[in-house]
Assembly symmetry: C2
Homo-oligomer: 252 residues x 2
Amino acid sequence: MDALVTVPRGNPLIRKLRHGVDLDAGDQAILADLFRPDRTAEPQQDIVRAGDPAVGVHLVVEGVAFRYKLVDDGRRQILGLLLPGDFCDLQSVVLGPSDHYIAALTACTIADVPQDRIDALVFRDSRLARALWWATLVDESILREWLANMGQRTADRRLAHLFCELLLRQQIVGAAGSHECPMPMTQPMLADILGITTIHVSRILRDLRTEGLIRLQDRRLHVPEVERLRAFCDFDPAYLHLIRRPEGEARP
Amino acid sequence: MDALVTVPRGNPLIRKLRHGVDLDAGDQAILADLFRPDRTAEPQQDIVRAGDPAVGVHLVVEGVAFRYKLVDDGRRQILGLLLPGDFCDLQSVVLGPSDHYIAALTACTIADVPQDRIDALVFRDSRLARALWWATLVDESILREWLANMGQRTADRRLAHLFCELLLRQQIVGAAGSHECPMPMTQPMLADILGITTIHVSRILRDLRTEGLIRLQDRRLHVPEVERLRAFCDFDPAYLHLIRRPEGEARP
DNA sequence: CGTCACATTGATGTCTGTCAAGAATCGTGG
DNA sequence: CCACGATTCTTGACAGACATCAATGTGACG
C-alpha cells in the first residue's frame, strides 16, 4: 500500500480518528507529534485526580487506563476504559479541573500535552478541531450505551456487552485479533464497571464459560463464535460510530 | 442592574452558557438569534429519531425533552433530560445520524438550527465554539454522574439524586424556586430513567414522602429541607460545573 | 360514562449482595 | 529455589433489593 505515508501506520490515535474524519499528511504529522510518550504510570496509579488544576491534557500512548468516581462510603464506579489513542481529559481544556479520577489499569505510557497546544488545535485548526470533537462525542456516545447497558440488561448480558465492546475497540486500534483480545481487568474491576460484586462477576464468568461463549486465558479474552456472543447481549456497534474507512485511503 | 443589555435576561441558553464562558453582547445576540422557536412537539412525540439523516441541530426553547434508547425486547432507557437551553443533537454535526431517540416529555417548542449555521459557530468563532464545547462537555459530565448513580446507589438514593439534579438544573435556567420545581415525569418515565419498574418507583416515592424528604403536588416537586435530601443521596453538584457567575456581569 | 393511562398495594419469585471459608495465583524476599 | 503474604478467584448458604403477577383505585378525556 501507499508507501509515501511518513507517519507510523500503527499510530492508534490516527487510526482511530480516521474513522471519523479525513486527515491529510500534515494533520497526521501534528497528531503523531502529540502522540509521544512523556512518562509512564504503574497499574492502579492515578493519572488524573479529581480537583487537580488542569495543566494540560493526557493521552494514552500504550496500555489501558480507566475513569472512575468514588461514591458515598467508598464504592467505586468505573466510568470508561481508555485505550491507546484515547484522551484522558480533553474536557479539562474547557471545564477546568476534572470531577473524576483516571488511573492506569495496566502499565501505561502517557503523553502530556500542554494546554496551549490543544487550545491551538481546538480553537484554530478546524479540521483537527473536528477530529477532536469527533473523539469526545464518541466517548459521550459510549457513555450513553454504558448507561443503557447498566439500566436495562441483567448482569450476564452486561458483561457480554462489555466484552463485545472491548474486542471491537481494540481491533480498531490494532490491538486485537478477530476472535481474541487483551482483557487486563481483574474481577474486582469488572465488578466496578458493571456495578455488581466481585462474587457475582465470578459466577457470571463461570456461566459464560460453561455456555462456551467466552474463554479467558493469560489475561486474554477468546470469543470462539463472535456472532453468538453478539446475539446473546444484543450488541449493536452503531454507538461507536465507526464509518468503515479502508486503511489505505486518506482524502486530502 | 445593567440596563443596556438588549438580549432577554431570561434567555435560558445564555443563562446556562454564561456559567461556563464569558459572552459579550455580540455573542449573546447570536445565541438569542438561534433561540427562536420554529415548531412545537407534543408530549411523547419524537423530535429526533435514531438513524435519521442529520439535517441540523435542535434546541429546546420551552418544555422538557428526553433522550432514550430501546434495548432488546423493547425495554427503554432514558439517557438524559433536556431543559430549555439544551441542544438535542449538537453531536450530529460531527457524528452524523443520531444513534438514539429524543422525544418531548412536556409540550415543547423547538428551534431548528441549520447545519451550516452551527458549523460556522463551532469551527470559525472561537469564543462561541468554546461555549458550545462547554455545553456538550457538561452533558457528558452529567452522563458520567448518571452512570455512577446507576451503578453504585440503591433505587431510593438514585431517585433522590435525580430530584436534586432536577431542582438545581432548573434553578440555573430560571425555571425553579429554591425549594420546588416542575417535575413533569410520570412514574413509568422515572422507572425508565432509573432502570427499575414502575411499581418500585411508586413504593420508593411513598417512602421518600413518609420520610418527609419530598412532596409531589400538581406535577411539581417540593423539597422542604434541601440539605437533608442532598445528604440522603450524597449529591455533589460539582459535575454540573457551575462556576457561580453573578447574574449582572459579563466581561467582554 | 366508559376508556385508558397512571398510581397504589400485596404476594411471591429471581437476581444480586453479604458473609464466610478455601483454593489458586503471583510477586517478593530469604 | 522455596516460603511467604497478598491479591485474586471460587463456592456455598443466606438475606435483601427489586421484578413479576395480580388486583384495585384514581383521574383525564372523549
